[in-house]
């Protein structure tokens, strides 16, 4: 009896140990690439090319940051990215919140509520590559290629359905009674939304906004199609532009790439509680 118990305890400890080991390996595999791009961005070119690789930058330098952000227009690209992301987020979260609230609270004739919800979701499923040709021809005919407004419009196409579903899911979690009480107290239906539901949904609103910022900040394909000039290109396009057929500017793209990641990592920690819901479009609540 005693031996069995000891044996099972040893087994339990072994399982536990291998579990911790697996998690440690997963952590290293997760973090190493991120560390590596950061490390390379602080190395001189000659150290980037070093064989065997220099695991820790021996002569740290900000040279590539200077190249990218001062001498080359990466600051401009980053600013463009930011402006487009903020613009998209304002439009998407603004309209998406109203639509999400309406779909969470109101009744519609026939089965509209359900059908409209799923139609909105289905627009989110549309692959961006599918719309590049019409969008390109459309913006071309309006003379809007190479403008940030064109990017905001294009990005809204997939951020708005996302924001609508997220906010719908958050509003559905709020108790209806508070809004009912406000209406009984003489508030209008719109007033109940504005003064009662909206303040309660603030965490959801913030999470949705941050997700929209991240999605827009990371977007590549549409920007590649719509923008060709420095004045309108976003950070990912700027980075891709330094990987050419003839030469790859390793230091520069490492610096710019790492800088593109920093705000995202910060945002990820801010929205960590909402990640599951955000990534599953409100379908799974974490």
């Amino acid at each position: 009896m005693a031996t069995i118990r000891t044996r099972s305890r040893i087994r339990e400890t072994l399982i536990r140990l291998s579990a911790y080991l697996t998690i440690l390996v997963a952590l290293i595999l997760t973090l190493f690439p991120v560390y590596w791009i950061a490390a390379n961005s602080f190395k001189f070119d000659i150290d980037i090319f070093a064989v065997p690789p220099e695991w820790l930058p021996q002569n740290p330098t900000l040279k590539h940051y200077d190249e990218a952000f001062i001498q080359r227009p990466f600051l401009r690209y980053a600013l463009n990215s930011l402006l487009v992301a903020v613009g998209t987020t304002i439009v998407s979260v603004g309209f998406g919140t109203m639509a999400g609230y309406a779909l969470a609270r109101f009744s519609y004739p026939w089965q509209w509520r359900k059908q409209i919800s799923f139609w909105i979701l289905s627009t989110r499923m549309m692959p961006p590559i599918v719309s590049i040709i019409p969008l390109y021809l459309f913006f071309n005919s309006l003379d809007m290629l190479n403008t940030k407004s064109a990017l905001v419009i294009a990005y809204t196409a997939f951020n708005l359905p996302f924001a609508t579903w997220m906010m719908k899911s958050y509003f559905q979690d709020l108790p209806v009674e508070l809004e009912e009480a406000a209406i009984v107290d003489g508030d209008t239906r719109w007033g109940a939304f504005l003064h009662v539901a909206l303040p309660l949904a603030r965490p959801g609103l913030a999470a949705t906004a941050i997700f929209c910022l991240i999605i827009s900040w990371n977007e590549f394909l549409l920007s590649l199609i719509i923008t060709l000039t420095e004045q309108s290109q976003t950070l990912p396009i700027g980075i891709a532009g330094r990987v050419t057929q003839y030469k790859t500017y390793w230091g520069e793209i490492s610096a710019a790439g790492f800088m593109a990641c920093v705000p995202i990592v910060i945002f990820a920690f801010i929205v960590q509680k909402h990640l599951v819901r955000g990534l599953s479009l409100g379908a799974v609540k974490g």
Binding site: T30, P33, I132, F220, G257, V276
Partner: protein, 307 residues
């Protein structure tokens, strides 16, 4: 996935019999209208436009009129070898990448759920890859795969294994793309599975333990069936995403070598811009759209089940 207050409607009584404003009365439509109009304009219009473009030959010269070719562009899909290669690459990539992401993500979630609970920080750290800009991920792996000074070949060298060209090698290019994608997206499956595991009911497991069911049986007979809705959602979102793969390929291989990593998105891009044939590109896009609609319809049926 309990939903509270789902579908609950507020009685729309107006206080004191006051005259209702028009806006207040139509609020349900007014709040929905901007989103509906924007999405109609941004999705229905491009789709119709694409149908129109797909039945034409569009010259790169904007002054030339579009030439009507009827179903010509769709017929080309049947005989275009490059399209078949792109389609096959996309299917292979999707199946292999999503399978690995699923197995790794589920395994890691089971481990973490069992041994490390409530460690939000650790979870968030493991979550980082999928939040990063795909372009940054692509250049990170480009540096790692670099044949001359890349870290991967250094590891191969230390292990006494032959050095490889990785993304530049005919046989390893697709594998390299898949590894980078698995690195970025395994956390997604992991996160959703973790959420699913956290919401499992306790009682069935207590009953199973009393009956002396092994943990393997418990996993097979309880955990997996309970997780099914979450698994369906996670897999479908991943599949939809894998089908639109572009950024990684664009940076890491450009579709090469020898078209081994040419996927549908990249092919559409090339046809539209490098070969300047938007009409045919529109036809391929419509094919992708059709596949997506079939898949997403199925997905939304699953969501309805989950609700």
């Amino acid at each position: 996935m309990a939903r509270t207050a789902s579908g609950t409607q507020i009685p729309e009584l107006q206080p004191g019999g006051r005259l209702e404003h028009w806006a207040e009365r139509h609020l349900r439509y007014l709040m929905l209208a901007p989103t509906m109009l924007i999405l109609l304009a941004l999705t229905i219009f491009p789709s119709l436009y694409m149908f129109y473009a797909a039945v034409h030959r569009i010259s790169p010269n904007p002054d030339l009129p579009w030439e009507f070719v009827g179903p010509g562009n769709f017929v080309r899909l049947l005989t275009d070898a490059q399209f078949h290669v792109a389609l096959r690459n996309t299917v292979v990539f999707t199946i292999v990448a999503v399978t690995f992401e699923f197995l790794l993500g589920l395994g890691l979630a089971l481990l973490l759920d069992r041994f490390i609970r409530r460690l939000t920080f650790l979870k968030t750290v493991l979550m980082i890859p999928m939040m990063l800009p795909p372009i940054a991920v692509a250049i990170t792996w480009k540096i790692i795969y670099e044949p001359q000074f890349g870290v991967l070949n250094e590891i191969m060298f230390r292990l006494g294994l032959p050095l490889q060209a990785w993304a530049g090698d005919v046989n390893l290019a697709m594998f390299s793309i898949i590894v980078a994608d698995v690195w970025q997206w395994t956390p997604f499956i992991f996160l959703l599975m973790l959420a699913g595991l956290a919401s499992l009911p306790v009682e069935p497991y207590e009953a199973a333990a009393l009956d002396g069911a092994s943990s393997w049986r418990q996993f097979w007979d309880l955990t997996l069936p309970f997780l099914k809705p979450v698994i369906a959602i996670a897999l479908l979102l991943r599949v939809m995403d894998a089908l639109r793969l572009f950024d990684l390929v664009f940076i890491l291989t450009g579709g090469g070598p020898a078209d081994r990593t040419k996927v549908l998105s990249l092919y559409i891009y090339q046809v539209a811009y490098r070969f300047a044939d938007p009409g045919y590109a529109a036809a391929i896009s419509l094919f992708v759209l059709f596949v997506t609609i079939v898949l997403s319809t199925w997905f939304m049926k699953r969501m309805r089940l989950a609700e």
